[in-house]
């Protein structure tokens, strides 16, 4: 049903939007609080500002979708939460998981957080499993990393996990190797690994981008189902707005390392205010095309992250820009439950409210 929405128009997509926090207690405090997160890379004297003051919160049982075109800093921002950035990355700001500050953790403390508290599912199931190790060995490694189980018990738990991710004939899979499984099956194994120690937060970094549309829907359904059963928080990163519209409770739009719009899914898609989000939405064709092609339809190029201008980063590409946009707009809740960073938000009917003449 939800997958059917992939082929629908915007209004069809909205009907399929997840009800806000239908299964979780909306009163629960956030499990993850990201506050003014900044990540820079220094390369040959140039400083690349990959993430520039990102703030958001995620509550248990809720799914936050982070969307934005390639290079907007989605992956870097979540890899910072896992301590998976290379040593050349410089991280500032704060990210607290259940009260624990993640920025500046030492190697040893990271190992206690990774897998145990936060788990991650990566983009390409073809390469995110070790080709030389059996599925069982990789799963059991994850299980035993955080629980002192005997081999036999861990193997039983591995089978249970493979059942949880609905991989057919799980006993047999333990002895197989990644190349003997299809892409969708591999991604189920990666999800099983991620779930092995009941993480509080699951990050799916384009977990379905490399899969075909049917498998994509199956994997997303699986994630939703598991989330509803285990009550964890999920951050899903996607290029694909329709996927976010179908499966996320709230959506955060990133541009040049910043959040430019953040709202409940239904709210955001029925009332787009930020011109960049609108451009992304307009880029969605009626029929589903390969997800990675879509954001490219937004005109112009993403900004150079090593030489960001003053003011709004979207300015050079923005149809509504004015002189005022040379002063940086800050992300703020201009409307209840709806934050955006723009001086001239687009109005409800989709037209621009800027002083400039309207464009088609």
């Amino acid at each position: 049903m939800r997958s059917g929405a992939r082929l629908a128009t915007m209004s069809g997509m909205l009907n399929a939007t997840r009800e806000p926090a239908a299964t979780s207690n909306g009163a629960a405090g956030p499990i993850l609080v990201v506050d003014d997160l900044r990540v820079t890379f220094s390369r040959h004297g140039r400083v690349v500002h990959a993430v520039n003051g990102l703030s958001y919160q995620v509550r248990p049982g809720r799914t936050l979708a982070i969307i934005g075109e390639s290079g907007s800093g989605k992956s870097v921002s979540v890899r910072a939460l896992m301590g998976l950035l290379p040593p050349s990355a410089h991280i500032e700001g704060s990210a607290r998981l259940d009260g624990t500050e993640l920025v500046g953790l030492d190697d040893k403390s990271w190992r206690a957080v990774r897998g145990c508290q936060i788990a991650m599912v990566f983009q390409d199931p073809a390469s995110s499993l070790n080709p030389t190790m059996s599925i069982g060995a990789q799963l059991i490694e994850a299980i035993r990393m955080h629980a002192p189980l005997k081999r036999r018990e861990a193997a039983q738990k591995a089978i249970d996990l493979l059942k949880l991710v609905r991989l057919p004939s799980p006993e047999k899979r333990l002895k197989q190797f990644p190349h003997q499984l299809s892409g969708g099956m591999r991604q189920r194994v990666v999800i099983a690994i991620a779930l092995s120690s009941d993480p509080k937060l699951l990050i799916a970094d384009e977990a379905t981008t490399a899969l075909d549309v049917t498998t994509q829907a199956q994997i997303m359904e699986l994630l939703v189902d598991i989330q509803e059963r285990l009550g964890m928080a999920v951050i899903m990163i996607s290029h694909d707005l329709s996927l976010a519209a179908c499966y996320a409770h709230e959506v955060l739009v990133m541009y040049a390392g910043k959040a430019v719009e953040h709202a409940e899914t239904r709210n955001l898609f029925s009332n787009v205010r930020m011109p960049y989000t609108k451009a992304l939405l307009d880029a969605i064709p009626q029929l589903s095309t390969p997800a990675h092609l879509q954001p490219a339809i937004v005109g112009g190029h993403p900004p150079d992250l090593s030489a960001l201008p003053e003011g709004c980063a979207f300015l050079p590409r923005c149809p509504s820009s004015t002189e005022q946009c040379r002063i940086e707009p800050h992300l703020a809740e201009h409307e209840p439950e709806h934050a955006y960073a723009c001086w001239h938000p687009v109005s409800r009917d989709g037209s621009c409210t800027g002083q400039k003449e309207e464009r088609p």
């Binding site: 896992m82 301590g83 998976l84 290379p86 190697d107 190992r111 206690a112 957080v113 990774r114 897998g115 145990c116 936060i118 788990a119 991650m120 990566f122 983009q123 390409d124 390469s127 995110s128 499993l129 070790n130 080709p131 030389t132 190790m133 059996s134 990789q138 490694e141 994850a142 990393m145 955080h146 047999k172 002895k175 197989q176 190797f177 190349h179 003997q180 990666v190 690994i193 991620a194 092995s196």
Partner: protein, 354 residues
């Protein structure tokens, strides 16, 4: 010999697969062996290797023909008359056409008769029995040592790329790699034999005269062969490991499980880097064999290398032919072994791609 080491493992692994229709294997040891991809691979390779060895033997024979020097003249003595040389030539069968001599040599070789040395008159098989163990011991020890040295160095260096250990290993290996093995041999002799007087400078003590004296005589030759190879392997493996750690997605998966850095290195990255290393080691076996010839000469080790060089000096065809053939066969079998190792190590080869 390769079959003996790989069979049990291969057999166990095939039993374990049970995937799809291929998993429904008929009962019985023979069927299981036939179903083993590793054994099938060995079979396929042997089909190539055996004809290849015949070609090699023919090439070696041709090479001998082309060498200057007349064995009949040497056997008869330099001041022998024309007739005497001719008589010796006939007696040695050298007057017969080349293909006939090749076939009779081949027939002899297949029945364990490799002819006899023109110089000493002793059977080549007897000479092999004396010389082959020396070279095998030396090359074998150098082979194992080069890997034993390089693995920990590469792993330690890759643990923190650009760190102190890494830079130390890289600088040392670069320096030592620039030294050819015969220079290495002379340096080692200067330091350990001439300077410190700890080890014999040259000569070989057979194992029968005691393990320790034998080892003492082996240390310097083995080191001179192993150290340059170890530097080569360590640099290569370190580079490959760092690449895996930086670029491979499965490393991220392993890290996000909470796996520790050493375990990631040796269990995850090394397994994948080992294929590259294996290729390199396989390619290097030819160089190792060539290296033994020079090193045996420097250390006066009575091995295959010296036997061959003596043979060349005295146009001792039967001896040279056998030596060259054995060196070539060693390289061919080493590569066969590398292929089999691939199949044992890499599940993608072992089970075939789907």
């Amino acid at each position: 010999m390769s079959g003996a080491t790989t069979t049990p493992a291969a057999e166990k692994r095939t039993r374990v697969t049970e995937n799809g229709p291929a998993g429904e294997q008929p009962e019985g040891l023979r069927a299981r062996l036939a179903g083993s991809p590793v054994l099938r691979l060995v079979g396929r390779r042997l089909m190539i290797v055996i004809p290849l060895l015949f070609v090699v033997s023919a090439l070696v024979f041709l090479l001998m023909e082309a060498l200057p020097g007349d064995p009949a003249q040497i056997r008869a003595g330099m001041d022998a008359s024309e007739e005497e040389v001719e008589a010796v030539r006939q007696q040695m069968g050298l007057d017969r056409p080349g293909h006939e001599r090749y076939l009779s040599w081949l027939g002899g070789a297949l029945t364990g008769d490799l002819g006899s040395s023109v110089v000493s008159g002793r059977a080549v098989t007897t000479l092999l029995g004396e010389r082959l163990p020396v070279t095998l011991q030396m090359a074998g020890m150098a082979f194992v040592l080069s890997i034993v040295i390089s693995l920990p160095l590469a792993l330690a260096a890759a643990r923190r790329p650009g760190g102190l250990v890494d830079r130390f290993v890289m600088v040392c290996s670069m320096t030592l790699l620039a030294v050819p093995n015969f220079v290495m041999a002379l340096l080692l002799v200067l330091v350990f034999a001439v300077g410190l007087g700890m080890l014999p400078a040259i000569g070989f003590v057979p194992l029968a005269e005691g393990v320790w004296p034998n080892m003492r005589s082996m240390i310097l030759p083995v080191l001179s062969l192993a150290v340059p190879m170890a530097c080569f392997y360590a640099r290569f493996l370190r580079g490959d490991l760092v690449e895996q750690l930086n670029a491979a997605a499965y490393i991220d998966t392993a890290r996000s499980k909470g796996t520790g850095p050493w375990r990631i290195l040796w269990l995850h990255a090394f397994r994948n880097s080992s294929f590259g290393l294996l290729t390199l080691v396989g390619l290097n076996i030819g160089a190792l064999v060539g290296g033994t010839v020079i090193i045996e000469r420097i250390f006066a080790m009575p091995g295959m290398g010296t036997l061959m060089l003596e043979g060349v000096m005295s146009s001792d065809v039967a001896v040279v032919q056998t030596c060259v053939f054995i060196f070539a066969a060693a390289a061919v079998f080493a590569n066969l072994l590398v292929d089999v190792m691939y199949a044992v190590l890499d599940p993608r080869v072992r089970y075939g791609s789907h």
